[in-house]
Symmetry: none
Subunit: 227 residues, 4 copies
DNA sequence: AATGAATGAGCCTTCATTCAT
DNA sequence: GATGAATGAAGGCTCATTCAT
């Protein structure tokens, strides 16, 4: 039984990096089993087939990453601005690393971009709670009249800025000279940048602006930022 | 020979959608040749091997997309705010469409996330000019003292917000109820949102703030936002 | 142990239908064990290997079929013609059913056509007694001078006619229109047909015909049927 | 092209004996390709998959056997009795051989007993023409009033007697002492036996007997052979 | 006595590539 | 120049069997 669990875990630990590096098609069961030091038949024995091993590996990846960089439990009195900063920092921490990004992150990135059966659970169990957390923070920062879809949009803007550094890191790396790259990949500085940008935008949100309250399909003139 | 060119073009036009839909590993030379109505040996004959066909297909994808949604030539007198809005609109136009996104977009997305030999040229010929264009717009909007890496960071923030809707559309689709999804995928409204958020942030940039001028490696305390 | 016997019997009862339906190669140990609700290792534990399970299943099949349609014990005074009719009826009863034939019959058919180690015992214990019974009936119907090999030949002709409907039922089904098929598969009518055909032939046997008495290797001219 | 045909034929000639000896499941593509001296991929290249190779092998088996032992074209004046004898002889010739039976015969036997997609065509193209030929001969030998299903039954009885020696040869071999086996497997003598048995039965058919004319479902008492 | 975990051999198939024409 | 035939390598998976318990 103990050995059984070990073999299963070893398999997952071997499959994660392989799938992350080569994708579902590119990775081979043989190579994974070789790394896990188990028989080729073990994949079928423990997981049924390659695809279910992949799904299990994705789930494990997120669970491990969650453990490594957990969301904190904030005190009630903590200002929303600080929560936002910490939230952004954690998001960046999870995504940063570029080429050295842990396999967990790269594997999840693959799943997001080429979603399989695992994606639904991934979103339900991990992305959604985080996103709701972010919406909760925004609730403290934007006027009550701002409709939900606008808060979501602001949330996506914040997440998108963080996400970009991981998902498009190949482009960033080629766009920025190698010697300056490290400047761009400093988590704290970057977190501050994104937080400031977001707070400034939130502060500029005119609470009574018609456009924000009316449905987007009846969008008025460009009066949002009258200054 | 004319036929030769035709075969090569037909091959590229067949390869693009295939690679976009199934990835490099998932797509098969046979299927591509079948669609192109050429012999299986044609890939090796015209391109050497599968990989070089892939690279050629990626390049062609970006060239086609460039034609479809070109960057405009702005009049000198056009306010930078308007240029920014148009830039964002074009970015979103190129990326929107989720599953219905043209194969060109999806193929480039694959290349960004799993870069191959084609990525370097892609960035050099297409991403960099666009990014420089964006930086030029920002030059008109931020004080001269703001260092380049900060402008780049602001540029990445803008691009990242657009990029997110394409790269993470599977997550967005699962996060937002199906009936509200269309609300989030309105290019003009979204462009306005991102523009306003960005402009508000730019307006908030304190031109004399020490942190912004000093190199980030010698970053002082969190005094950027003194309020 | 009681459980042991139960497991063994359950295994046999599960193996029979499986082997009958899919053949030795097609049937899998796992599926058999699943049906028998025993461990996969049980086959090897109780029978040594798959092949010996197969042999045991074949034997059991014939024993069960023997119970289901036993040969009757005839009164001394029963006319041979009636015995023949009953014998044929029983043979047909055992073989009829085509696809709906009980698994026992189908399994034995497989063994006859692709004999394994089980075939020898099957013939010795079951086929031979039946065949000797038939020869005994024929002894009462043909002149004493008829040599044994001729009686055997007549026996084979009778058995062959019955056997055909089971062994070649796929051909019969395709040769005869579906709506008329039932007409051909009426046991009593068919038994009568075969009995009459056989009796007519027996009656026609010229007891003193040279050919019948001389060894077939020295067969004379075609004078058997002088007409 | 020539080489192509050769490879295909070699594959068929290698597949036939393998399938005949080991069945569809038991035979392996590797072994067949080894014998045919072609690459393992050749099966897929020429036939799509193992199953279609099997079907092609079955068809070829029957075609070859047809060539080896063709049905003769009889003169109009040839007595039906002689035609029957020759028909039976040819049937036996095709089936005889016991263990030494050509692979074509054994393969067809497998198909009859475990029919696959090939069976339908086999019956349509080969079995049915032969069976109709036999019915034609019987038409000359039985009174016109005898209904078709009775003629078919007589046909099956004749074919069944021949079929038995091939299909159940394992049983025959175990039932008859080895030294007497050859006596039973003499084609000419056996053909005469079956012909005589059949002719005697035909002669005994009472043309006006009620049962023969009435539908079998309303079968009267056992009055068929009142003698 | 009986079992669940684990295995290694082998199977069919797919695929990118090559070679003679 | 361009192609259809043919190939070798490798991949995922199934299966009967074994071994420690």
């Amino acid at each position: 039984m103990v050995n059984s669990d070990n073999a299963k875990i070893r398999l997952l630990d071997a499959a994660g990096p392989e799938f992350a590096a080569k994708g579902f098609e590119g990775a081979t069961v043989r190579e994974i089993c070789l790394r896990a030091e188990v028989n080729v038949a073990a994949v079928n024995y423990y997981f049924g087939d390659k695809e279910r091993l992949y799904v299990a590996a994705v789930k494990r990846a997120r669970a491990l990453r969650e453990e490594q960089v957990p969301m904190p439990l904030w005190a009630e009195t903590l200002p929303a601005e600080d929560k936002l900063r910490q939230f952004i920092t954690i998001l960046l921490s999870r995504m940063m690393g570029v080429q050295a990004a842990p396999w967990q992150t790269r594997l999840m990135m693959r799943e997001i971009q080429h979603p399989t059966a695992a994606c639904r659970e991934l979103v339900r169990d991990y992305m959604r709670p985080d996103f709701e957390l972010l919406l909760g923070i925004l609730d403290e920062l934007v006027p009550a009249e701002i409709p939900r879809y606008r808060r979501e949009q602001i949330g996506f803007s914040i997440v998108g800025q963080c996400f970009f550094y991981l998902a498009a890191d190949s482009v960033v790396s080629l766009l920025i000279p190698a010697e300056e790259l490290a400047t761009h990949y400093q988590i704290d500085q970057l977190a501050e940048h994104i937080q400031q940008l977001s707070l400034a935008a939130l502060g500029a949100v005119p609470p009574l602006d018609g456009m924000l309250l009316s449905p987007p399909t009846a969008r008025p003139t460009n009066s949002w930022n009258p200054s």
